[in-house]
């Protein structure tokens, strides 16, 4: 447990990391470092995106599965590690 907390702290302390959100399979944020409204917004939107992405990947080959998703935008990059029980979302701004 402490190891996981430490790793989360390290990621949070890296250059440019704006926030970390952990969402469970229902879309409810479990742990977050952003404010509540943004967290809920991110959680809801990203859940839909991940479902769409996973559906796309599996539609092409049902034995395949989504392992990681990176969305790079002008201002930042959203990195999502999806699983069947949770999503781990990290938002990083690389040019800081």
């Amino acid at each position: 447990m402490a190891e996981v907390e430490e790793t989360l702290k390290r990621i949070q302390g890296q250059k440019g990391v704006q926030g970390i959100i952990i969402v469970n399979s229902e879309g409810i944020p479990i742990k977050t470092t952003l404010d509540y409204p943004s967290t809920v917004q991110y959680a809801g939107l990203i859940q839909q995106l991940v479902m769409m992405a996973r559906s796309t990947v599996r539609e092409i080959d049902p034995q395949n599965d989504l392992t990681f998703l990176r969305v790079r935008s002008k201002k930042n990059e959203i990195m999502i590690a999806p699983d069947k029980d949770y999503f781990l979302i990290v938002i990083q701004n690389p040019s800081d």
């Binding site: 440019g16 952990i22 409810i28 479990i30 049902p62 781990l88 690389p94 040019s95």
Partner: protein, 653 residues
């Protein structure tokens, strides 16, 4: 009153019209409506319908009004029967005529039946009985049911859904997780509010109680691990790309800080190679990045070793350079993918002096320590169980510091030892010992004892004569370094503290094959050239010497400053380059261009001493460990190298 019909109706039933009999036809039509079923037989009409043009002419005469006299007239109607028109004739299949073939059979059957009927009258088998059923009185009954709720459900049958259902129908559904999620929906709403109040400004937890299993799960840890690497990788992308000699992403990435003012190459211009060719920029070191973390800050680096199979893993030993009391030291395994935190951290009780990874079991790391113990760590395991064997209980253990450990492939002679790899250690107690991993630890066997030659002249001692004195150390001299021949693993070199370099063989434990000596300073490091199999480099307190195998004086001597040469390394990529740590600077020598002075000189930062050095195969980078706990990676730039595979030396005697 009569009804008027249009003539279009009439044409269906009537055929020819004669003008004078118009009225008669009119009344005929009237009777037609009343008895429509007999109409087809009563009308004396031939069936042929009239030509339409005739009818049209007659239509003009309709305009007459019907008077009472006309209606009272008696009209004669003659009805005759038409011939019988046979429309369908199905001959009977039951009633057969006499002439048919099977009439006889049917007749027979008929006779049989007639006989049966006769017999029936008085026969007991045939009785007539009647039966009657009671019909129950009908009754009305009312029932009422709940409204049947209907629900519409829509579904898209995706390919993966079909696949999943097909494969999951054999497995039993996992109900545990369902319970968890159901309960978390119920309780999370309550805890949301409590979470908001009790949370700190930077982070807070929502729905804590039921989600700890999630955070502790294996897959979450793995996701975190990958995420950390990706986040760090983005920060270090240009440096790592330069290390791996890949093109660097431009825009939105951290720009490289160039420390050396002589260097003209910039990261974005990796693809533009004209810059390197035109400008006569001098060879230099370019700073890429440094491995450091708070755990290791301020610690001395004593040894570094690359993993033989995975080129991204580096093992580094940290320990404080305090000869009086051995403080516990750390061994960290760093991965190049994450320069901000080591992948593994092991604690050792004693100061580590030497590390080496095994080539056959790539997760085994051999560690030599200052108190004479040898240990083998399995780096795949987590921190506490990592030490899988050590020599502390072994009778052949060293009692004095182990200065170097090397893995050696024992393909040739000692197959009875089991396993294909053994460990060789050289220690300050003058023994070279070979260790192998047994079931209950390490088992050792002395290979060689380094006999002291201080009291005699500079020639080899005769075999077998060993003066026994009380002090153990006066007989044997301290061994400081060791290197195994790159191609012939039976031969190895040992450097001693008296300045002797012995070439020994695994098979011969009494005598050395040859001895090389230049002066009396202790030999700090020895290394065979990876390109030429009979050339090796040695360094002592103030000089670096290049030796050729059968010549007993060094072929070349290199001196730059009058300070102690701590360590030297050959570059695995170019045959003529080696690096040395001399005093407080790192020197890169290029024998092709200049043998009197180093090609690149790099000074350590003030207050920091340089301790350890490593090259990497495949890239042009050098890793430098210092006394501040940092391993800095430098890229060698603008070296004009690459010619020739072997070092060709002229023996100048």
């Amino acid at each position: 009153s009569t009804k008027m019909y249009s003539f279009s109706v009439v044409t269906l039933f009537c055929s020819s019209f004669v003008g004078s009999s118009l009225q008669s036809n009119m009344s005929a039509i009237a009777s037609l409506t009343n008895e429509s079923e007999d109409s087809s037989q009563k009308l004396d009409i031939p069936i042929n319908p009239p030509a339409p043009c005739e009818v049209l002419k007659e239509n003009d005469n309709i305009e007459q009004t019907v008077t009472e006299e006309m209606l009272d007239e008696v009209a004669e109607i003659c009805l005759t029967e038409t011939d019988t028109i046979s429309l369908l004739d199905i001959p009977s299949s039951i009633f057969v005529t006499e002439d048919a073939d099977d009439a006889g059979v049917i007749k027979e059957k008929n006779n049989q039946y007639a006989e049966l009927c006769k017999n029936r009258i008085g026969n007991d088998n045939y009785l007539e009985e009647s039966a009657q059923t009671f019909s129950g009185a009908p009754k009305d009954k009312h029932t009422q049911s709940d409204k049947i709720a209907k629900e519409d459900k829509g579904m898209i049958a995706t390919t993966w859904d079909i696949y999943d259902s097909f494969f999951d129908q054999n497995k039993s559904p996992d109900n545990d997780k369902d319970d968890y999620t159901e309960s978390s929906v119920g309780t999370s709403k309550d805890q949301e509010k409590s979470g908001e109040k009790s949370g700190s400004s930077s982070s807070y937890t929502v729905a804590t109680g039921n989600s700890t299993w999630l955070i502790l799960s294996e897959s979450f840890r793995h996701s975190l691990f990958v995420m950390e690497r990706i986040v760090v990788g983005k920060i270090f992308q240009p440096k790592l790309a330069a290390y791996r000699q890949l093109p660097i992403l431009k825009g939105n990435v951290v720009m490289l800080i160039v420390e050396d003012p002589d260097s003209t190459a910039k990261p974005g211009t990796e693809e533009q190679s004209e810059e390197g060719e035109e400008s006569a920029s001098s060879p230099s070191l370019e700073y890429l990045w440094a491995f450091s973390c708070e755990l290791t800050k301020g610690c001395n680096i004593t040894s570094m070793a690359w993993n033989k199979i995975n080129p991204n893993i580096l093992a580094v030993a940290y320990g404080d350079f305090d000869l009086s009391n051995c403080k516990p030291s750390l061994i960290c395994c760093w991965s190049l993918k994450n320069p901000m935190w080591p992948e593994r951290v092991f604690h050792c009780d004693s100061w580590v002096t030497s590390l080496d990874f095994s080539a056959i079991n790539p997760s085994q790391l051999a560690v030599g320590m200052y108190d004479g113990t040898l240990a083998i760590y399995d780096v795949q395991r987590q921190n506490n169980n990592a030490r899988i064997a050590d020599s502390s209980k072994c009778s052949e253990r060293h009692l004095h510091p182990v200065w170097q450990v090397n893995w050696i492939k024992e393909e040739t002679l000692f197959l009875r030892e089991g396993g294909a790899e053994a460990l060789i250690s050289v220690s300050a107690d003058g023994r070279i010992t070979m260790w192998s991993l047994l079931n209950n630890g390490l088992g050792g066997r002395d290979l060689m004892e380094l006999k002291s030659t201080q009291n005699t002249k500079k020639k080899r001692k005769a075999a077998g004569t060993k003066t026994k004195t009380e002090c153990f150390l006066s007989v044997l001299t301290r061994g400081l370094c060791l290197d195994i021949h790159p191609t012939d693993s039976c031969i190895y070199l040992v450097g001693t503290s008296e300045g002797l370099i012995h070439k020994c063989s695994l098979s011969n434990s009494q005598n050395v094959l040859e001895t090389y000596q230049k002066d009396l300073c202790p030999v700090n490091h020895i290394e065979w050239s990876p390109f030429s199999s009979d050339v090796f480099l040695s360094c002592s307190s103030d000089q670096i010497q290049l030796w050729k195998q059968d010549y007993f004086t060094p072929v070349f001597s290199f001196t730059s400053t009058q300070e102690v040469v701590k360590t030297i390394r050959w570059s695995p990529n170019w045959p003529t380059i080696f690096a040395a740590i001399i005093g407080r600077q790192l020197e890169i020598w290029d024998l092709d261009s200049n043998i009197l002075a180093p090609t690149i000189v790099h000074h350590a930062a003030p207050g920091v001493k340089l301790m350890s050095l490593l090259f990497t195969t495949g890239t042009d980078c050098v890793f430098l460990g210092d006394s501040d706990g940092q391993i800095t990676v430098y890229q060698l730039k603008n070296l004009s190298v690459g010619k020739g595979e072997k070092v060709k030396l002229k023996a100048n005697k």
